[in-house]
Symmetry: C2
Subunit: 486 residues, 2 copies
């Protein structure tokens, strides 16, 4: 019996080459039990005509399936589903009728009720996406990333990528970070003092689980990275939010019984304030007096196109009191999920053990790909390309904001990729964002960054890492109009 | 001033092409500040002669660095370090003198003092590696994995791979698991009931954090997966270990106040026992009576070369009481770190929120690569290839074990990749393993799998997923000799 040519169709949104799509639909037909052993496939000529593709494309797909033993060839008579093809599922899945579990009782704790800022999944369809922290495909060196990934998949690297290293990191990546990345932040660290994490979020979580817990006290900046609130809430520690000023976190405000201080000295999130060196020394002094630990989130230091960034707070740390968190999410792309943390060996040992418990180690292949991308110099070339584009966008932002009389509440002095904005007091920027959305403008309301119950609702953030320069003036004009109309 | 050709050398263990190695050493020289702006590079002829490579190789490396603006060319006079080259670190790192932090006080809890089975990093150098759960490079379809990875890095997929999906999974991978993988285990699940995890370890950890905690009680199998003990110890729950018999976990033994039952019904770890269907119904009945949850670790079900595996316990679950954990670590490779869990929507919602808190989501690229590898049929082809090899090894194992009179304590009835062995009572297999190591034989001592304080010390596990058939008889002979001599 032959399989009818009519059961084949190319999906309008099909991905990959035509050959791969054809191969995939046949494999799926066999795996789902729709095609049976011994059934004859349509001739390559027929299928090609039906799908409107070239005959060679179909023949190549068949040949591939032949090599995998999904199909067999019988002389000139054509291709058949092989006897050795995978057997389709034997058990007919039955839908569970009614679930009886009492989830209120079963769940020891809930994690899903946090207050998080959600990004629209379709932000690329916005004409004016002032979104923060997303990759700009026009700036990313896709070709070289791909080459590095292929190199990391080579036979030489295969063992190191596929093996189960339990709790080890890629030595190439760790070495590059130690020798080239950290010295730029004034930090000297041995490999035992470095841990690769699944992004900065993962690093921050590890610190919360190791240093905090019931009965401990954390101090955070207000406003601050919204995911940090949620993360600390789940740590069972008490949390105090300290209002930042134009120089970032004020050390004097830190309560006496604080155990851990979370701070973003280079580039306060989200106000972009940079902490002056004198205050950094005060902060370290205050932490020493309290015997408190400091977690430094040094995000986005690479985007310094207006001036050299200050060295990291960690570079001034003589006590081993600062845990430094870095990330490749902004400079490469967030979907990569790669970051790192630097701290005393005693701390990194615990972080490594906890990481091992939670997921063992970040996947080997992405570590090695990043190591190649960094060590071949592509990373630095890319940072310079991004910085150049961001500098131009920043200038356009400044001009347009000036022209339309919008109020800047914070702008990074050395660069960055966002500006912190203040609308008039009566404006609720969550409502403003909804209004602007209809015109294809995406802005980020500021309220989720604040911990204060009486939090201000008139701040907003404008990212410029994903909007092209020529769209900026028109986008800012629309924001100004919408604020006027509020 | 010219850079001396003598500062260049190819590392004996250098990886990648010669061109890439040359490019890398120059980029590193610039990034580390050893080479300065305006310095002249050696001529391609000179450097090629010095390194013993072809001149075109050096020229290609220089051209690449030219494109990245690390070098500039000045007519016929040669290549120079570009003015636009990345600036080397400005701050001289200073080593911290003495650390003053009191880590006993600073650490809210310790994770590094667990009792874990460590695998030798150099196991590939063993002549007789009876190691468990490591990839066999001769069986893995490296070429197609690489093609899928390259496809997943294509421009079409770039956005989906690089973006920050916060807590979403790759829809292609989830769909394949729902439509093709789970039906083979008798399980019907909607995408909302599936979560991609960083391996099975990560899935088990998520269950422990959501379902357990202070005041809750877990029941586990004894012996069981050693990392599970550690994971539950860190959950603050009380843990009862129940001795398994030839049919796996005995439901009657589960204490009355149990909240969560961890079990491996398809293939008990490490004894390889398969739980009969009647006992599975008893287990579900017992869990219902206790209103307890069950976590089913369905590892290695793919390696069924001796007979069809039983459907998963989850397939019999009508209450929504079973949380199913699957993994690609054994069938693809552990360094991939990909697994999944299936449960009621109420549970998966919490698991997703917790995962988001801890690391957001598994890296997009590895999810998409796996989705292609699966949907193009390579995965099933690979399983069949592995099963064929494992069947042959298993037969060789059985023959050699029979010939040398070793005692099998458990062998998977449908296949698997290991056998659970018992040495005479007086033999400590940890000591036996040390003895055998000197002869290039790696075996896994059984004690770490037991929770019992009076745990037996005479069991051991023999994996056959990484040892070739022709080495097996000799390896088994050496084990028999060593046991004789004990």
């Amino acid at each position: 019996m032959g399989i009818s040519v009519d059961t084949f169709f190319l999906k309008p949104d099909g991905q990959g080459t035509l050959q791969a799509q054809i191969q995939q639909m046949i494999a799926e037909g066999i795996l789902s039990g729709r095609f049976h052993v011994g059934e004859k496939l349509p001739s390559s000529r027929k299928l090609a005509a039906h799908l409107g593709v070239s005959r060679i494309t179909v023949t190549l797909a068949y040949t591939e399936l032949l090599a995998n033993d999904y199909l067999t060839a019988r002389g000139r008579s054509g291709y058949y589903v092989s006897e050795n093809a995978p057997v389709p599922p034997k058990y007919t899945p039955v839908r569970r009728s009614t679930e009886t579990v009492d989830w209120d009782r079963a769940l020891a704790r809930r994690f899903s009720d946090g207050d998080v800022l959600t990004k629209p999944q379709d932000w690329r369809d916005y004409r004016y996406p002032f979104i923060y922290g997303q990759p700009d495909r026009t700036l990313f060196d896709h070709a070289n990333w791909r080459l590095c990934a292929v190199r990391a998949l080579g036979h030489k690297d295969f063992d190191s990528l596929t093996g189960d290293y339990v709790d080890q990191d890629d030595p190439l990546l760790v070495e590059f970070i130690a020798r080239h990345t950290l010295p730029r932040r004034g930090i000297a660290a041995r490999p035992e003092e470095i841990l690769i994490t699944l992004g900065a979020q993962n690093a921050l979580w590890l610190t919360s689980r190791i240093l905090l817990g019931h009965g401990r006290k954390a101090a955070i900046e207000d406003p601050s990275y919204y995911a940090l609130h949620e993360l600390l809430r789940c740590s069972d520690a008490t949390m105090t939010a300290l209002r930042v000023d134009q120089d970032g976190l004020p050390p004097d405000a830190i309560p006496d019984d604080t155990d851990v201080i979370y701070t973003t000295p280079s580039h306060q999130c989200p106000t972009t304030a940079t902490m002056p060196v004198a205050r950094r020394h005060d902060l370290l002094e205050r932490a020493r007096a309290l015997d408190a630990m400091i977690v430094e989130d040094d995000y986005e230091f690479e985007m310094a196109f207006l001036g050299a960034p200050s060295p990291a707070l960690k570079s001034l740390d003589r006590d081993g009191r600062v845990i430094y968190v870095g990330s490749f999410s902004k400079s490469l792309f967030p979907g990569l999920r790669l970051g790192y943390m630097v701290g005393s060996e005693a701390f990194i040992r615990e972080a490594r053990a906890l990481r091992s418990l939670v997921f063992r180690h970040p996947p080997g292949h992405i570590q090695r790909t990043a190591a190649y991308f960094l060590s071949l110099g592509h990373y630095d070339a890319q940072i310079r390309r991004m910085s150049k584009a961001l500098l131009q966008r920043r200038q356009t932002m400044e001009e347009a904001i000036e022209r339309h009389g919008l109020t800047v509440a914070g702008r990074g002095v050395f660069g960055g990729s966002s500006m912190w904005m203040r609308a008039p007091d009566h404006v609720d920027t969550a409502e403003l964002a909804r209004q602007l959305q209809k015109q294809g403008v995406h802005i980020e309301p500021g309220a989720p960054f604040f911990s204060d119950p009486h939090r201000p609702r008139n701040f907003y953030r404008l990212g410029y890492s994903s909007i092209s320069s020529d769209r900026i003036p028109d986008g800012i004009a629309r924001i100004a109009e919408a604020i006027q109309a509020s």
